[in-house]
Amino acid sequence: MRTAAKVLEEHRDELSRLDREIGDGDHGENMHRGFAALVTAMERDAPDSPGGVLKLVAMTLISKVGGAAGPLYGTAFLRAATAVKDTGELDAPTVAVALRAALDGVVARGKAERGDKTMVDALLPAVLAAESAAERGEDVPALLRAAADAAAEGADSTVLVLARKGRASYLGERSVGHMDPGARSTALLLRTFADVASGHR
């Protein structure tokens, strides 16, 4: 999570710039604020189970991020926390289940469908990739790499579509040609998780 905070800090301006193009320009700042608060919270009192960490992430994002992204990411991490319960070490099938739960949470709150130009466009293909990786019996690093690749592709795919949810939807046709900032931050987070699990960062 510390790494995720660093990645989000590095990409703060990029995310805000994406949000400025089709939204209100605060997505980078929002995400950075949330994850910076998370680092502080973890330093104070780090939970020892994966589920505990996920729950802390959820509560911190909900109370620090605000905007659309706060409750959506918050719900995602909360549902993931519930899905992994108090498992000690996560295996690939559990990670796939957790990702699916996160997606379901985002959709339950935000009611976005694939192609609406939101974070769902990154998260949904990531979940599908994770599930088939788990089925193929791959390990957690490989599963997360597959999810991250799919999310990145999904984020790229948002460039060409017209926004139907969130602030960007007010732009109508003019939202076409810009990547969705929330999809981009989802892809960034998954890439970070994959890198950390693979020992790259």
Partner: protein, 333 residues
């Protein structure tokens, strides 16, 4: 970016402190989580009227906290909806035993955060209702978007419902009144130049010297259409026509006309625009019975304006005229 600030990350907090020192008799400000509460809260037996949203729209909402309007306001970061714990704190601080009505502007972030907050507050044992205001007619394809945004009409809603609550209306009554107001208030805005979010450092959008952005929201998000700048007559008409056609407003209707500045447009231009709107309404046989002119629902230093029309009846006129004592709106007291 040139602003009178110390640090982009402390703007909202420092501004709230300044607001607290400017109005010690009216409000109390709590910083973490950030809430502006009327000084005499909780008022026993009174429904608490609570609103909130991103900062940068001042005086909305903190400037409307006080007798006859809001019991509390929850300011988020600039243009970022507040978090559920802020709203939960506001409910706790204003709970007079009669429940709370949350006034939410229709933005995905606001709706989601207030939704969560309502769940938290209900768990605390307070009866909570929410209404979502979506008066911005600039958003046309509501089916394919997050829906219409809440803009200038929010002020009128807060004033009218605040007056009813002050008079003792119960939670059902306040909610029903709010839905009625939402049903008959419509707005639209335009920008000549965007404002700059402090931590972004650059304007939300850039317009050529001869362009305006029609149908802007109040969050620096671009509007729906970029057009050549016209005369004031043309610009006012381009705001008024979609409003009139939408409800629709018809000859003989009694209305409140609210000519709002976006923060960077001076009063001399707002009055000029207001005069044009009054003339156009008179030509259509629409009767302007109440009016408000000024920068009340702003978007930082955005240059631009919006028009809001609320269809009036005797009940609404009486509630509009009822005493109000807040930092930004005050009469009868």
């Amino acid at each position: 970016m040139k602003k009178i600030i110390n640090d982009p990350s402390t703007v909202v907090e420092e501004s709230l402190k300044g607001m607290a020192s400017a109005h010690p008799d009216l409000i109390e400000v709590q910083l973490d989580p950030a809430v502006v509460v009327r000084a005499d809260a909780p008022v026993p037996g009174k429904v608490a009227i609570i609103s909130g949203g991103g900062a940068g729209h001042e005086p909305l909402h903190g400037g409307f906290v006080g007798r006859g309007m809001l019991d509390a306001a929850c300011p988020g970061h600039v243009f970022t909806s507040p978090t559920p714990d802020q709203v939960q704190a506001a409910v706790q601080k204003t709970d007079g035993g009669a429940g709370a009505l949350l006034i939410v502007k229709n933005y995905t972030g606001d709706v989601l955060n207030f939704e969560t907050a309502a769940e938290l507050a209900e768990a605390d044992g307070v009866a909570v209702r929410s209404v979502v205001i979506d008066d911005d007619v600039a958003v046309t394809d509501s089916l394919y978007t997050a829906g219409r945004r809440g803009v200038g009409g929010t002020l009128l809603l807060e004033k009218v419902v605040g007056a009813a609550a002050e008079r003792g209306a119960d939670l059902d009554g306040c909610e029903a009144l709010a839905r009625k107001v939402i049903g008959q208030v419509r707005s639209m805005g335009l920008a000549l130049a965007a404002g700059t979010v402090p931590h972004a450092g650059e304007p939300g959008f850039t317009l050529a010297d001869d362009e305006i952005e029609l149908g802007i929201g109040i969050h620096g998000e671009p509007g729906r259409r970029r057009v050549k700048i016209g005369t004031a007559d043309e610009m006012v008409k381009s705001l008024l026509d979609p409003i009139l056609d939408d409800l629709p407003f018809a000859a003989g209707d009694r209305v409140l006309l609210f000519t709002n500045g976006m923060g960077g447009t001076p009063l001399i231009e707002l009055y000029l625009a207001h005069g044009i709107a009054e003339r156009l309404l008179a030509e259509r046989g629409i009767v302007v019975e109440r009016r408000l002119v000024g920068p009340f629902v702003t978007s930082l230093e955005m240059q631009g304006m919006s028009l809001t029309l609320l269809k009036l009846d005797d009940e609404l006129v009486e509630l509009w005229d009822a005493p109000v004592h807040t930092a930004a709106l005050r009469w009868g007291v």
